[in-house]
């Protein structure tokens, strides 16, 4: 499918006869279980400005070419973590990459390893199952203080990196172990556990480490660094996983 830009030349008036807008080809993996059992590839010719993000280009298709294109997006500024997708083979947030940096043809697929529901929308439930399983909340065994639970700057810094997670699933769905073995907790769940395991105010570290010591826990990690590469927040995911491994190791030996 090829579509030519039919947008009026903006507010600059009819006199504006600047250079033709640059265009890019979006090759999107479409899937609609109501009409076809198999996914198909469709290409769209999209005009773009140098400042346009990939999400702008996709939304242009949705608004001007095919309204049935389904994707998740919300804040569009890299905070909510809704629009993770596989862009040119690597997991990215569509709102965090510029079209001009991605080449003349951009391949867009849903994140891999989770059941596709429609187009770029996947069923996130298995991902959330793993997240819930690591008890990602504060566990304490002392009396509740009347003020907030204080912590030194050093203690806070210990787990600072893993507090940045926005749960976009880019890391977990970039992990080859997770692709092949849906039972593996995946990088995100380990990051979520790391955030509490190394929190000086938390008392549930043993329980969480015990959970991650399971057959499908941290020992499945093959340190391929796909997760670290995929994380839009720049979290050192593989490092966090290694730190959990080390905590388990030195607790046993």
């Amino acid at each position: 499918m090829t579509v030519v830009d039919s947008r009026p030349a903006a507010a600059s008036g009819p006199a504006a006869t600047g250079p033709a807008p640059a265009t890019v080809t979006l090759k999107i993996r479409r899937f609609d279980p109501e009409f076809a059992a198999q996914a198909r590839w469709e290409s769209y010719q999209v005009p773009f400005d140098p400042s346009d993000r990939l999400l702008d280009a996709i939304m242009w298709v949705k608004w001007n070419v095919d309204g049935s294109l389904a994707l998740r997006r919300s804040c569009a500024h890299g905070v909510c973590g809704s629009d993770a997708m596989r862009v040119n083979g690597a997991n990215r947030l569509a709102c965090r990459v510029l079209v001009k940096d991605l080449g003349p043809e951009i391949t867009i697929e849903p994140i891999k390893g989770l059941p596709v529901e429609k187009d770029l929308i996947v069923d996130m439930e298995p991902f959330f199952d793993a997240f819930r399983a690591v008890q990602p909340y504060l566990i304490t065994d002392d009396h509740e203080p009347t003020r907030e639970r204080l912590q030194s700057a050093e203690d806070r810094a210990r787990f600072d990196d893993t507090t940045k997670c926005i749960m976009c699933a880019a890391c977990t769905t970039s992990c080859p172990v997770f692709w092949n073995d849906g039972d593996y907790f995946g990088p995100q769940a380990i990051v979520a556990a790391h955030r509490f395991i190394f929190d000086s105010r938390d008392a549930g570290a043993d329980e969480r480490l015990e959970i991650l010591n399971e057959r499908e826990g941290v020992w499945r990690c093959r340190t391929t660094f796909n997760c670290t590469n995929a994380c839009p927040r720049g979290i050192q995911v593989t490092k966090a996983i290694q730190e959990v491994k080390r905590a388990l190791l030195f607790r046993r030996f």
Binding site: P115, D123, G182, N213, W219, K245
Partner: protein, 148 residues
Amino acid sequence: MATTAAPADRGAPELAAPRSPRRRTKPGTAKARSNFELHAWVFMRISGLLLFFLVLGHLVIMNVLDGGVQRVNFGFVAGRWASPFWRTWDLVMLLLAELHGTNGLRTVINDYAERAQTRFWLKMLLYTSAFLVVTLGTLVIFTFDPDL
């Protein structure tokens, strides 16, 4: 009595295709907790490190020093195995290499064999072959008779 329809579920579990992963259990619900994977992981690191020296040493002795592989015959082996040091070296190398490889293949099978039956039989095959190699090798090292 209440014959209400199933709650409006997400519908996703029915959508097997495309590219949904296999999932056997929910994470965090494993029944028996053990340190087996932890110990397997540590074993791989330590055995890998030891094998690096054992295997390189073995290669150099057998293939490079004093004319290399040309001089290896029954007498050469008998001469080396007269010393408990070389017997121990070979025994340790045999055990570590076989177990290291077996555990590595076990992981590969866990990763890539999707059907439970396939996984089971592949692992049985693997463990049987490992048992045969270890038994046979150990037997030879301990019962080797230079006067044969």
